[in-house]
């Protein structure tokens, strides 16, 4: 018996696209795919793209620890409104996930989540870059992704130790090529704008050097690595070259790095203080080309909520980070000269595979698979308003930015959690 029918849309998945309806059964799995399906609950998808739900590899939910800024519930509500059916929750810089107890605490919070939450563990104890976190113990609890969100490695030896140690487990080491040591003094991209403003910046070459060092360690140890938050076109080229030599590496970029430039910092608003920083216009243009060429594996949000008072802080005293789950798809559709298949591959099935959840997310919409689906209206034109978002934070770098394309419905395990752009829970 078909419970829910997604009717009248164009199904786009890893296998191509076709104009069919999708029927979901009582168990939440896809029961039928074909023309003219009927069921108890008809979801209108006329003129829309029907695709496997999006998967974010880089979300920060601030829980446990800073529930006033974001919770698993508010963060995943933001996710489903953005078309995500699964997110990887990063450990916090101040809230490391570095023990079995910490993993279990977040596993318990999954009850409050509105979509699947995959847990990322910390690589080093307290994310301090000194001692290894118990990677094996956490892997035993199902953790497949390990990261220090702002690495503090004092030297390459620790990176090597982490990667060597992890090679015994079927896990992925995710790292942004950023150093906490460098960023302690920098607040933006080093270039013409930082020079005029007199704000200390970090050069894009720092990212390229760090990328190269991480790639060499990946090659040396053979442990799977996912490079997060690349903002340098050269760094992306380095990754592509390493891949062609068989190095087991993937990489992601964030929507703000292919849409916004460092000139935004001239407004001194916290929402433009991002990590890595917004780069110069020429970098932004080249990043777009790297994506269209196929040298990027995933678009990830780095959804980083900050408390409301953060926007009142002077730029050099403000924390890094902006929210991104509710805008990533629309920014990608608006900014990238890619077809819908490529955009969905970067937002859905490739990140699903990188996160190790390709059996239930991303991939194909086929009979028997869980009903994790997004319905996208590509023609809607809208402008994000931070204060109207489901995230507890308002700090979107896309405030008032004209975007094209919006999520109409999101279905998680067969349940319609977003209907006509409204969260149902």
């Amino acid at each position: 018996m078909i419970e829910t029918v997604i009717k009248g849309g164009t199904v786009v998945d890893q296998t191509g696209n076709k104009e069919v309806d999708v029927g979901i059964g009582n168990d939440g799995n896809i029961l039928s795919i074909g023309p003219d399906l009927t069921g108890n609950n008809i979801i209108d998808a006329a003129g829309c793209v029907v695709a496997p739900g999006l998967v974010d590899l880089n979300s920060h939910f601030r829980q446990p620890g800073d529930e006033e800024t974001e919770t698993v519930e508010s963060g995943t509500r933001s996710a489903i409104l953005g078309g995500y059916t699964a997110v990887v929750a990063m450990p916090g810089i101040d809230a490391a996930v570095d023990s079995a107890a910490a993993v279990r605490e977040i596993q318990a919070l999954r009850n409050e989540a509105l979509c699947h939450v995959e847990i990322a563990g910390s690589l080093t104890a307290g994310c301090k870059g000194e001692e290894l976190a118990p990677i094996g113990e956490m892997a035993g609890l199902g953790v497949r992704f390990f990261t220090d969100p702002l690495p503090r490695f004092p030297n390459d030896l620790l990176v090597r130790r982490v990667m060597e140690y992890a090679s015994n487990f079927d896990v992925t080491i995710a790292l942004p090529p950023i150093s906490a040591l460098t960023m302690a003094q920098a607040h933006m991209h080093e270039g013409a704008v930082s020079s005029h403003l007199g704000i200390p910046g970090v050069s894009i070459e720092e990212e390229e050097l760090m990328t190269y060092r991480f790639l060499k360690m990946c090659q040396l140890t053979g442990t799977r690595m996912h490079l997060q938050q690349l903002s340098s076109p050269n760094a992306i080229e380095l990754v592509a070259a390493a891949k062609s030599e068989g190095v087991p590496v993937t990489c992601e970029v964030s929507p703000h790095h292919f849409s916004l430039t460092d000139e935004a910092v001239e407004t001194f608003q916290q929402r433009y203080k991002l990590l890595p920083p917004l780069r110069a216009k020429s970098h932004v243009e080249s990043i777009k080309e790297c994506i269209v060429k196929g040298n990027v594996d995933a678009i990830a949000t780095c959804h980083s909520p900050n408390p409301p008072h953060a926007e009142d802080l002077p730029f050099e005293e403000a924390p890094f980070g902006g929210i991104g789950l509710e805008t990533a798809l629309a920014v990608s559709l608006t900014e990238l000269d890619s077809n819908i298949e490529q955009i969905l591959s970067l937002l859905s099935w490739m990140p699903a595979d990188i996160a190790g959840i390709g059996d239930s997310h991303g991939g194909v919409l086929s009979i028997g698979r869980p009903g994790n689906i997004v319905v996208i209206d590509k023609s809607v034109i809208w402008k994000p308003v931070g204060s109207e978002m489901a995230s507890k934070s308002n700090n979107t770098p896309f405030e008032g930015y004209p975007l094209k394309g919006k999520v109409r419905h999101t279905i998680v395990n067969g349940e319609v959690v977003v209907l006509n752009g409204e969260a149902q829970r």
Binding site: G198, H309, P314
Partner: protein, 318 residues
């Protein structure tokens, strides 16, 4: 021109605005030379000092300017106030604003703070220095001093020497000097230059001895001792040898050139200790003119009803 609402950076004034302040300054120079150098043009106006960074010279200069114009002043002492207890910038500004102020003079170590304040207050904002970004009233004092001593800023070769990278005085001055038609050359160790200067309207000259010969104005910047610890210069001794005013180098200066410094000067660093007295220095003029241009700035933003030529002492005002 219509008055700007704020003076946060040189761009708030533009060339026209700078010229207007310099012209107004002549009137206030005259006022300052009177037997009683005090006029009632800002009577009833309230100014608040909001200094998040230590400042003696700039704050005193503003204080003196305000008193000569008969304005009331409030000092929000950051070091002994609620800010120490964690009060936010926003709460502080909203509190001061609620008491009723016409202008806030703000200094902060973070770039951009003067641009944030109008979100929380209707008062006019005057930037007394934000991080390494801008210090527009220092710049106005410097332009006025150059005009006084050399007749005009336009057409002059101005050589700025020292830590450009961390200097708000340099950033405001480069804008103001070039707006007024001067040509600006910078001399600095490459570690103390901003990382990207392709679009700056200046010449960067590596050799001080070459640059000094061209200078109508030699503008020395303060060199901070911390730069040695940050590995930006090997030692202050080497800095003085390469980028300081030594006796030999001072002989290369044209007779008519003037030497400026925003203060406070590190004797023995920017100027070698062996130079007994700096010939042609106009540093005290810069300080005097600091008060004059700040009077002009305050009048420009807040003054109303009296045209400058009619400015009378209170006791003459019948």
């Amino acid at each position: 021109m219509s008055s700007p609402q704020h003076i946060r950076g040189i761009d708030d004034l533009g060339k026209e605005g700078i010229i207007e302040i310099l012209e107004l300054s002549d009137h206030f120079l005259e006022v300052s030379s009177r037997r009683i150098p005090k006029v009632p043009v800002l009577r009833g106006k309230t100014l608040a000092w909001l200094f998040y960074e230590d400042s003696t010279r700039t704050r005193l200069s503003f204080e003196k300017a305000a008193k000569r114009l008969s304005a009331d002043t409030m000092n929000f002492s950051v070091s002994s106030s609620s800010v120490k207890k964690g009060e936010s910038l926003r709460d502080t500004v909203e509190t001061i604003s609620a008491m009723g102020v016409d202008a806030i003079v703000v200094r902060h170590k973070s770039v951009g703070v003067p641009w944030m304040l109008p979100k929380w207050t209707d008062a006019a904002i005057i930037n007394a220095g934000d991080g390494a970004h801008e210090h527009p009233t220092q710049s106005l004092a410097d332009c006025y001093t150059i005009t006084q001593k050399l007749g005009d800023v336009s057409g002059k070769r101005i050589v700025i020497v020292g830590d450009i990278k961390h200097s708000r005085v340099a950033r405001s001055n480069i804008k103001a000097f070039t707006m007024l038609g001067a040509s600006v050359a910078l001399v600095a160790p490459p570690t103390l230059l901003p990382p990207s200067m392709a679009d700056w309207p200046v010449d960067v000259i590596g050799d001080f001895d070459t640059a000094i010969k061209e200078a109508d104005v030699l503008y020395l910047l303060r060199m901070q001792h911390e730069r040695q610890e940050e590995a930006l210069v090997p030692s202050l001794r080497e800095y003085t040898n390469q980028y300081g005013l030594t006796i030999e180098r001072s002989r290369l200066l044209q007779k008519s050139s003037i030497i400026m410094h925003p203060g406070p000067m590190n004797r023995g660093v920017e100027v070698s200790g062996e130079v007994p007295e700096i010939q042609n220095a106009v540093i005290t003029n810069q300080v005097e003119n600091g008060v004059i241009v700040r009077m002009a700035v305050l009048y420009h933003l807040l003054g109303s009803g009296v045209t400058p030529t009619e400015i009378q002492n209170e006791d003459n005002n019948d």
